[in-house]
């Protein structure tokens, strides 16, 4: 047992619970998927059921919900043996102790508990296992009650979690809610820049960046931010052309404005630049392909750069420089698909499909 951890006294041996008859879960005579609950867990739940059913709004009920929640916070010390609970971190639908959290909220309201203390409690629970919808939902509820005064704390809290797991879905989602409901946008773009400086492949940070530039009340929206963001993104692309996040972000900067995207020379020229390095050019090629499908007319430099990527065994018949205009574009697009079929074999079916769906001259 670790220092500071007290031996747990079973509920039925505690004087303050002697008046309560625990209520076991009615699983029926022959339940399927029966869980061999530990004695401690089932006992806490049995007492919880009793107070829940009696709707007992008391401090001891509140303490009981805390005990129950602790079982789900990852490692739980029972009889000096650490039991590592099964974790389904990635499972989207997992929920835990719905009623416990729900009842806890009722208790917090009835007993007029200091909600700042509740934030501390949740933080301690999150230290064990923070991938749990109920906990985050609960935290949102508490922060909402506290209002703007909770802003700083909530931004700090999520930052702490993100410093350990920078792609934590719940933490990001909570942070976005905080920004929208309580404010605190001022430093958010810098925060994104900081995270991307640490890990330019962190797609969650890119997503947050997009969230900030499109929704922050201080930045003027996507259109106002586009110029500087394009420069930032192009720099990121040149540093790591294999980074899909930055390519998708670049495209996102022109969301709903395909014409500006097609006509912005910065987009096509970064593609050309990457193509000419002859390495990590899948996203550059795929971007050019999309551009052409939306009417972009590649010049001779592009044709040369793409030509240089064709392998010896690749079908040369498409490459006919005598073709003019749209037919020539179609040829280039076909060549791009052929190259991608080879250099990006996991997506061969996709590139074949794209090739079959290329726009034709009318």
């Amino acid at each position: 047992m670790k220092e500071g951890e007290q031996q747990r006294v079973p509920l039925r041996e505690r004087a303050e619970w002697s008046d309560v008859t625990p209520l076991p879960q009615n699983d029926g005579p022959n339940p399927v998927v029966p869980i061999q609950y530990t004695e401690d867990f089932s006992q806490v739940m049995d007492y919880f059921r009793a107070v829940y059913l009696a709707d007992e709004r008391s401090p001891r009920a509140l303490a009981l919900t805390a005990e129950a929640v602790q079982f789900n916070s990852g490692n739980y010390t029972v009889c000096q043996v650490r039991i590592k609970f099964f974790r389904l971190r990635l499972f989207l639908f997992i929920s835990s102790l719905l009623q416990v959290w729900h009842f806890r909220r009722l208790l917090l309201e009835s007993l007029k508990v200091d909600l700042n203390a509740e934030l501390d409690f949740v933080e301690r629970m999150a230290a064990g296992n923070s991938k749990n919808y109920q906990m985050w939902h609960h935290r949102r509820w508490v922060a909402e009650k506290l209002g703007p005064e909770a802003r700083k704390n909530e931004l700090e809290f999520t930052k702490k979690i993100l410093s350990v797991d920078a792609k934590h879905y719940h933490a990001w989602s909570h942070r976005q809610w905080v920004l929208q409901a309580l404010g605190g946008w001022e430093d958010e773009l810098n925060y994104c820049t900081e995270l991307l400086k640490e890990d330019i492949f962190n797609n969650s940070a890119w997503n947050q960046r997009y969230f900030v530039i499109t929704r922050s009340p201080f930045l003027g929206g996507l259109k106002a931010m586009r110029e500087s963001e394009v420069l930032y993104t192009i720099e990121a692309i040149i540093a790591y052309p294999e980074n899909e996040s930055s390519w998708r972000y670049l495209r996102g900067l022109y969301k709903g404005e395909t014409t500006s995207w097609v006509n912005d020379p910065q987009v096509s020229s970064v593609c050309l630049k990457i193509l000419r390095t002859k390495s990590n050019y899948v996203f550059a090629l795929s971007t050019i392909l999309d551009l052409i499908c939306f009417g972009y007319l590649p010049n001779e430099d592009f044709r040369d750069a793409i030509d240089a990527l064709k392998t010896a065994d690749m079908d040369k018949q498409n490459l006919d420089d005598n073709e003019k205009g749209e037919q020539q574009n179609l040829n280039i697009a076909q060549n791009i698909c052929s190259i991608l079929e080879q250099v990006d074999p996991i997506r061969t079916n996709y590139w074949i499909w794209r090739k079959s769906r290329l726009p034709l001259s009318a």
């Binding site: 029966p34 789900n72 039991i83 909220r105 879905y169 797609n203 290329l358 726009p359």
Partner: protein, 455 residues
């Protein structure tokens, strides 16, 4: 290339130290490639053995969970209908069934999870939740039979769904619970399969899902969040079920989802995240759905590429002859409001029977390779990736993904695939599923007959 241009394109200086994302990715890649390299060097008969789906062991592993789960499962106390679904669905995928007594016990147990006011809770006497309702309903459909199907109180369930419905179009997961894309999917899915879907439930759901499609092309859990495989499947399936899938940007969605399959051969859940076996279903399922939307996708591509007409006239004609998928895109003739209740009521049924599937857009053999060699534990059960432990959730979704792969070239959902499309021995072939609900097709058909002819 001219010398001049070569000078222009000096490679960037070598990157400093690899980032967290890079390190984690390289570690997983090296583990996976080690397995593939080993596979490439062993004799053919050993390869066949390695690719074999360990049916008996998987069966044994999941069946055991029906009768006993250790205390480590206490955290899943509020998810027992899910455990039922993962296990019964895995058994059904393997083409097996459980004995009558166990089946009766399961029906009885799930009935104890059914709330008197509608919906199913995570355990007896707990609070009803839409996701566990979905798991319970899918379990009961998978068990099949009159007793099982008749045990669902549809009127009360409808009332529960209406209580969870929000003005913004979304659903809450439970009383005062969170609102997100999962809740939309699980609500619409059960309503559709039980034939209780109506205009009230559908209202504004489409707008909510559309607001969750991100700049990347995939769908997020809430507006503003990051595109994610699980939510993308849920959002896409919901849009199909309510007949509004044409309102999503499908070409961008296709592009996002096909890029989630990596050189490890499996799918990742988000851009620059690690491969995970369970996305074989969430992402693979999204691609399988998209495979049947080709006429709508073609139309969107045609509309968006402004300069040219698009070159697939013959195919478009063909797909219109063979199917009626355009009849279900309700927004196609905006303003004419030709949507009547019959439109969405039969979508799920028509989707598999009439909507023509094009060829798969992902690499089906590669994904089967990842599932069989990297996600499969020889002793039974499937997992996220090498080095992780098996669990019932991953077993269910890896097997679901494997089934999708095996039938991915089939024009009709249950015509048996050619041997070269099933990786490993042909005995690996699983039962086909209905991709909108993820229940085995035969069981879906039985439920459809039950719920659609009864009333």
């Amino acid at each position: 290339m001219s010398e001049e241009s070569e000078r222009e394109t000096n490679p960037p200086p070598p990157p400093p130290c690899p980032t967290v994302s890079q390190r984690e990715q390289w570690m997983v890649e090296s583990q996976v490639f080690q397995i593939y390299q080993l596979f490439a060097t062993i004799p053919r008969n050993a390869q066949t053995l390695m690719l074999e789906l360990q049916r008996d062991n998987h069966m044994q592993y999941v069946s055991k969970g029906l009768r006993h789960l250790s205390s480590a499962f206490s955290v899943l106390d509020a998810n027992r209908p899910w455990l039922c679904y993962w296990i019964f669905h895995s058994i059904a995928l393997l083409g097996e069934s459980v004995d009558d007594e166990l089946e009766d016990n399961a029906i009885d147990f799930l009935n104890r999870c059914q709330d008197p006011n509608g919906g199913y809770a995570g355990g007896p006497g707990q609070m009803p939740h839409i996701a566990t309702t979905y798991a319970a309903v899918n379990s009961l459909i998978t068990l099949g039979g009159e007793k099982s199907l008749a045990s669902i109180n549809r009127d009360k369930l409808y009332g529960f769904l209406r209580r969870m419905k929000q003005p913004n179009g979304g659903f809450r997961m439970h009383d005062e619970g969170e609102i997100d894309v999962r809740a939309c999917y699980t609500a619409i899915s059960v309503a559709s399969v039980l034939n209780i879907l109506d205009d009230e439930l559908i209202q504004n759901v489409g707008d909510y899902i559309i607001s969750c499609q991100t700049y990347e092309g995939g769908i997020a859990g809430e507006p503003g969040s990051e595109a994610h495989g699980g939510y993308t499947f849920c959002g896409l399936a919901t849009m199909i079920l309510i007949g509004e899938v044409n309102h999503l940007d499908l070409p961008r969605l296709v592009d996002w989802v096909v890029f989630r399959q990596g050189k490890e051969c499996g799918f990742q859940g988000r851009t620059n995240k690690l491969v995970d076996g369970c996305y074989s279903f969430w992402q693979g399922g999204a691609v399988a759905l998209l495979q049947r939307l080709s006429s709508i996708i073609n139309k969107q591509m045609e509309e968006t590429s402004q300069i040219f007409a698009v070159s697939y006239v013959s195919e478009a004609k063909e797909s219109l002859d063979g199917t009626s998928s355009h009849a279900t895109c309700r927004g196609e003739h905006e303003g004419t409001s030709e949507s009547s209740s019959s439109d969405f009521k039969n979508i799920a049924y028509k989707f598999i029977n009439e909507w023509r599937a094009q060829e798969p857009l992902f690499h089906s053999i590669a994904l089967q390779q990842y599932i069989l060699l990297c996600a499969q534990e020889q002793e039974g059960g499937l997992r996220d990736k090498p080095g992780k432990r098996r669990d019932h959730y991953h077993t269910c979704y890896c097997l679901s993904g494997l089934s999708l792969c095996q039938y991915s070239w089939s024009k009709h959902p249950d015509s048996p695939p050619l041997p070269n499309l099933v990786l490993g021995p042909y005995s690996n072939l699983l039962e086909p599923i209905h991709p909108l609900f993820n229940v085995v097709l035969g069981r879906y058909r039985e439920a459809h007959e039950f719920f659609f002819t009864e009333s």
